[in-house]
């Protein structure tokens, strides 16, 4: 068996077609898009074509797409840029208020924490249910007169749960409609990083003002991302310099990578529904098979989940050791175990969905890709069962441990 790569939620390989499309922009079409000579114009046209491809997916105007270096950068620009732009409206000790959730990616959580530290914003972190889902009632409950931004991810990257983004969008639209002139508009951001390939990302349908994603989860290279900024959304750029990207993101455009992103987006939109159905079938086969192993449970929502993501808790097994044994059998997966993190703390998402630390150590995330085959799923199920049995054989009897430690 060749390598079975099931960590596509971490990153994907660059699609050969994407790679071929970007390649000429390194050594032949290497112009600076800001220059008016022929090479510059050629590069400019390529960047604009890519913008059109992204806008096509989002159903927005070309001018509403900003290219960045990553989803993280997009989020930093979105949140810091919006708050900075709105800050002058807040006086006499009042501060802009942000609502986000406890299961967001670190890029959102840390950006919000930074804004709090700077004293520029107050942040409410919404709790989630046991599936990792945000409730729109909680969103409504937490809205204050100072609320200016709601940021909720489209698909959770660890447990795969799909958030009710379009419902939140509708709710905010209704609230904004009712707001009187002295209350600020509430802008809505979603981190669509794990969603763009499979789910509907029409900006209007979702009701978002800001949407971020990255290239390397959709078969483009690492180092390029995008931010949708709806016309009229106030934003102050966070990188000062030239006038690139509608003066919102200075720095010479990364032309080959932007070209790659556009191509990857275009490819991801082809036969989207058919691919989504096929991937769901493989994912469900995987989930069914994994749950046949005793002492294993599914994390995230059983039905409302992204087509490529399956995540589990394997009791009596530590995730890193499991990852290691699987890797030895050429199966690449991911774990939220503390032992693989530099801080030795378990994943904040697993904690937020109420999984105790001793169980979070046995977390396993399997994320499918467009090239994943039925045979690979079958093989993975076989080696996963063997590795789990092997590790449980090594471990002390859990029932004995329950007596020794009052915590479990």
């Amino acid at each position: 068996m060749k390598l079975v790569y099931l960590d596509n939620a971490a990153t994907t390989r660059v699609d050969p077609q994407v790679f071929r499309t970007m390649r000429p922009y390194f050594t032949q079409k290497y112009g600076n898009p800001s220059e008016v000579h022929s090479l510059g114009r050629q590069a400019k046209e390529a960047v604009e074509k890519s913008r059109e491809q992204v806008a096509g997916m989002l159903g927005c105007k070309n001018a509403e797409v900003i290219f960045t270096g990553s989803a993280t950068e997009s989020i930093n620009l979105s949140h810091k840029g919006l708050i900075e732009a709105l800050l002058p409206q807040f006086q006499n000790g009042r501060r802009p208020h942000i609502i986000t959730s406890t299961v967001e990616h670190k890029a959102v959580l840390e950006t919000c924490a930074h804004l709090e530290t700077l004293g520029r914003a107050k942040v409410t972190y919404l709790q989630v249910d046991k599936y990792g889902m945000v409730s729109i009632y909680d969103v409504r409950k937490e809205v204050r007169p100072e609320t200016v931004l709601v940021s909720v991810m489209y698909v959770n990257n660890e447990v795969g749960t799909i958030q009710p983004v379009s419902q939140i969008g509708r709710l905010l639209k209704a609230i904004n409609h009712e707001r009187t002139h002295n209350k600020p508009h509430i802008y809505f951001h979603t981190d669509a990083t794990q969603a763009v390939q499979y789910l509907d990302c029409g900006a209007d349908k979702l009701g978002v003002d800001l949407l971020s994603f990255t290239g390397h989860k959709i078969y483009a290279p690492k180092g390029v991302g995008a931010l949708f900024v709806k016309t009229g959304t106030p934003l102050i750029r966070q990188l000062d310099g030239g006038d690139q990207e509608r003066k919102l993101r200075s720095g010479t455009e990364n032309v080959p990578y932007i070209v790659a992103l556009g191509k990857a987006v275009e490819l991801s939109q082809k036969s989207k529904i058919k691919r989504q159905k096929e991937m769901e079938r493989l994912r469900d086969k995987l989930i069914k098979g994994v749950l046949e192993i005793p002492g294993v449970s599914l994390t995230g929502h059983p039905k409302i989940r992204a087509p490529h993501l399956a995540s589990f808790i394997v009791e009596g097994v530590e995730g890193e050791a499991l990852q290691l044994l699987l890797s030895d059998k050429k199966v690449i997966v991911s774990t939220g175990s503390a032992c693989t993190s530099q801080s030795l703390t378990p994943s904040h998402v697993l904690s937020a969905v109420g999984i105790p630390a001793e169980l979070a150590h046995g977390s396993l995330r399997v994320s499918l890709g467009k090239d994943t085959t039925e045979e690979e799923i079958g093989y993975t199920l076989k080696v996963l069962r063997e590795a789990t049995e092997k590790l449980r054989e090594m471990a002390p009897d859990l029932s004995e441990l329950r007596g020794a430690f009052a915590t479990i």
């Binding site: 032992c339 030795l344 090594m394 471990a395 002390p396 441990l401 479990i408």
Partner: protein, 132 residues
């Protein structure tokens, strides 16, 4: 393809992880210890059979059961191989540093795993002495 774990762990750690030595229980063990905590992720249990021979005490047999990461399993396996057959007073001198060195080194973030296995041995020997 190069396995990423080969960058994190030495070949010896990986060898002991994949094929641990002295895994399991000893039915007639006369010393035992349990260290770690499931909350932190690593739990290590040691079983020792200590015998007296010519006025000296020896570790005739030692086995482990570990729930933990690759490094926790490898250090458990290593400490059992280091002290099996040794005189008790020699075994007691095995330090966490010696365990890590015998494994060809551990990444700094995993050094606590070697501390845990050294602690498990000390605790088991103390258990033996208290019950004598």
């Amino acid at each position: 393809m190069e396995d990423i774990f080969q960058k994190i762990y030495s070949p010896k750690v990986l060898k002991h992880m994949k094929n641990p030595k002295n895994m399991g229980k000893i039915a007639d063990a006369n010393a035992q210890s349990l260290v770690g905590n499931p909350h932190c992720g690593d739990v290590m249990k040691l079983y020792l059979k200590i015998i007296k021979n010519g006025g000296q005490e020896y570790i005739k047999d030692i086995k482990f059961q570990t729930l933990g990461c690759g490094a926790a399993i490898a250090t458990s396996s290593m400490i059992t191989t280091l002290v099996k057959g040794k005189r008790l007073d020699e075994a007691e001198k095995v330090t966490e540093k010696a365990i890590a060195e015998a494994l060809g080194g551990l990444p700094p973030i995993k050094f606590h795993c070697s501390v845990l296995s050294a602690e498990a041995l000390k605790k088991a020997i103390a258990d033996y002495r208290s019950g004598k």
